[in-house]
Symmetry: C2
Subunit: 92 residues, 2 copies
């Protein structure tokens, strides 16, 4: 594997793993008021499209990274929706 491929894998691993501390923080603190519903709705959907793209072009790294990201992003989205249902906060 050449330098560029390694760089790409490291970049993918970091931007995927970055969602772990956010998911952990959201689960443990249930402090979701500053989290954007719009971001996690769009992001979760966008990552779902990346999964389809990864399947279609047969890219293992894209598929694996996005399946993990999907799980993390969907968890934050779920906690945000639960938070909104428990409050009368404006939806945005």
């Amino acid at each position: 594997m050449d330098f560029d491929n390694i760089l790409g894998f490291i970049a993918a691993a970091i931007t995927t793993a970055a969602f772990i501390p956010q998911t952990y923080r959201s689960i443990t603190t249930r402090d979701l008021s500053g989290i954007s519903l719009g971001m996690y709705t769009a992001f979760t959907f966008g990552v779902f499209l990346w999964i389809i793209y990864g399947i279609r072009i047969g890219s293992g790294p894209i598929l694996v990274a996005n399946i993990i990201t999907f799980g993390l992003s969907a968890t934050i989205l779920y906690l945000k929706i639960e938070h909104l249902r428990n409050s009368d906060q404006k939806y945005h």
Copy 2:
């Protein structure tokens, strides 16, 4: 451009644009307590690596999407650090 390329561009556009509502929310509300410092530190650095990767492999879409994402992610990171400096909250 074939279907797969279009799908990839749409996925990239959505996962990039998703950070706009989060940045807007963080700027307007300054409600950063639920935002993870670890996520935005790692994510901003990872996106920086994606920019270098995009330059090296000569991919315009990767470069453009990640420059935009970098600006949005770095803004949220800046607001989070500013928030932490204004509080005695535990760093995590």
